[in-house]
């Protein structure tokens, strides 16, 4: 990455306010963030910090109140096929088989108009390649409700990658999975991001997940929703599960957890005891 290169995603002075009756909620205040091509960035923070809102604005699913989001230097004005999104659940089409879900975008005008016969052929190969990459070969003809949560998310990721988006936006995609499945999915998504050179913006509430996956972890804070700090992850690009036990990893985890606690506005038992005047002696 050269110093002069245009960032893949440029977020500038982004504000988001919601009107609820006569009180106004500031979901996001003056958010600024620049993400390089093929970079993996995770957003963490206490609930109400605006991490999902930020992701949805980048995805074009919600308008910002002010400020801009640019992709490769061009301001966005809505959803686009350069930015695919993976949700926590309910996003697969239960009436379509796994293969049909993955190929869904092929029946849309936007993709039909630009395609020549060689494109169509390439797309067929693309779908097959994604099915292999995501390990879905044995369930191609199954319907989503026949699959486990982890397999469903594999389908959702394959479907999102089908149109070769430059950016993959993920909103707590593994939040509903059990710990073992989640670890498998972590290594899979890292593999995919390196293979496809996709830029990733990934929302999670799990700090360990945030560090393990990312080049940079963005810590956000609530009331008003804002970017509080950005941490570089001091780990090599190729990750493995053992790295979670290293000093660097644990130190960063501790630091970010402390940051979340300090900004969450929620009191721990210790704080409460202190207020009552009978905190345990240290």
């Amino acid at each position: 990455m050269t110093i002069m290169s245009i960032p893949r995603i440029q977020i500038e002075a982004l504000d988001k306010r919601f009107e609820t009756g006569d009180c106004e909620v500031i979901a996001l205040q003056d958010a600024n963030l620049s993400i390089a091509p093929a970079e993996f960035v995770t957003l963490v923070g206490a609930s109400g910090c605006g991490k999902s809102t930020l992701l949805r604005i980048v995805g074009g699913l919600e308008p910002a109140s002010s400020g801009t989001v640019s992709v490769d230097g061009k301001p966005i004005s809505g959803p686009g096929i350069d930015r695919a999104m993976v949700f926590q659940h309910y996003s697969l089409y239960p009436w379509l088989t796994v293969t049909e879900n993955i190929k869904f975008c092929r029946q849309l005008k936007m993709h039909r108009d630009v395609s020549t016969s060689s494109d169509v052929e390439a797309a067929g190969g693309r779908a097959d390649a994604l099915i292999r990459l995501m390990g879905l070969g044995h369930v191609m003809q199954a319907y989503p409700n026949q699959l486990s949560g982890g397999m469903q998310q594999r389908v959702a990721i394959a479907r999102a990658l089908m149109a070769r988006p430059r950016i993959l936006l993920m909103d707590e995609p593994f939040g509903a999975l059990d710990a073992q499945t989640r670890e498998v999915m972590h290594d899979l998504i890292l593999h995919v991001s390196i293979l496809e050179k996709t830029t990733l913006l990934f929302v999670t509430h799990d700090v360990e997940e945030a560090i393990y996956l990312a080049h940079r972890v963005v810590l956000m804070a609530p009331r008003p929703g804002r970017i509080e700090a950005i941490y570089e992850v001091p780990l090599p690009d190729h990750r493995d599960q053992d790295m979670k036990q290293t000093q660097e990893f644990l130190a960063l985890k501790k630091q970010i957890l402390a940051g979340i606690r300090a900004t969450s506005g929620m009191q721990t038992d210790h704080d409460l005891l202190e207020q009552l005047g009978n905190a345990p002696a240290h």
Binding site: G59, P79, A84, Y90, S91, F104, M110, Q146
Partner: protein, 269 residues
């Protein structure tokens, strides 16, 4: 020990399952016991057959209706009215319900008036319908239409609103435009729920058929029941009511079968 008793009687677990045979047996008992009870009371001689005819009397009366009367004609005209009224209602309610459930301005425009009209009793419209439409077939179909349409629109709109937002937003990020989202996501996603809505409203269509035929007809199952009342033919009243119930049951089963056949992905596990 406690565990054992629970395992031995899984049928009484909360939301437990029954075996196919047990299920059939209990269902059959639920149907036959009331009939047996009816038979026992009516045949005992304690009640005048004018008030409660025996089952064989009712079957005789239905047979006589078929042989000497015009049972098939009555069934034909009633089915024709129900199906026509229901289809006209569905033909309008389907597109309108999808639009109300999808676009806020259309919802804001149609929902209050629909909500208002659906609380008006359809039977109270009969005098007006006779005044405007006359007393021919159009009148009965109009009553069935009024009775089902307004409920159907609101229920279909609700079915459409229940399509998960994630399904819609996923399509948006894949480049789908508005029409494509409606036709390729919202409609296929809501289809099973909509078919269920049609099944339920079909039951109401049968109810309003009888209302329409009781008041303003000279043919059909409902009219036959009314005529039987005038001549105190309680057995024929019973036959008519049971026949209408049977037709409802058959239609309902047809809808369930179509549901299974059309949406195999819902039933595969």
């Amino acid at each position: 020990m406690i565990d054992n008793t629970i395992i031995r009687r899984p049928s009484w677990r909360i939301r437990g399952n029954l075996g196919r045979r047990t299920h059939l047996l209990i269902s059959l008992a639920g149907l036959l016991l009331p009939v047996g009870w009816w038979w026992w009371i009516s045949a005992g001689g304690a009640v005048d057959p004018i008030f409660l005819p025996t089952p064989p009397l009712v079957i005789d009366s239905a047979w006589e209706w078929l042989r000497d009367g015009d049972l098939l004609g009555d069934i034909g005209i009633s089915v024709y009215r129900v199906v026509t009224g229901f289809l006209m209602s569905a033909a309008l309610a389907l597109p309108l319900g999808v639009l109300i459930g999808t676009y806020a301005p259309i919802k804001a425009f149609f929902e209050p008036i629909t909500d208002f009209i659906r609380y008006m009793p359809a039977a109270a419209f009969i005098p007006l319908v006779m005044l405007w439409v006359g007393i021919d077939e159009g009148a009965k179909i109009a009553i069935i239409f009024i009775g089902t349409f307004f409920q159907m629109v609101l229920m279909i709109a609700e079915d459409v609103r229940r399509v998960p937002m994630e399904q819609i937003e996923a399509a948006q990020t894949m480049g789908a435009d508005r029409d494509e989202i409606v036709m390729r996501v919202i409609v296929p996603s809501a289809k099973p729920a909509i078919l269920n809505t049609l099944r339920v409203t079909m039951g109401w269509a049968w109810t309003y058929l009888v209302v329409a035929e009781l008041v303003a007809a000279n043919s059909g199952l409902g009219f036959a029941v009314l005529k039987a009342q005038r001549f105190l033919q309680t057995d024929k009243i019973f036959a008519g009511i049971i026949l209408i119930g049977l037709f409802g049951l058959v239609t309902d089963q047809c809808f369930r079968w179509i549901h299974r056949y059309s949406f195999p992905w819902l039933y595969r596990k």
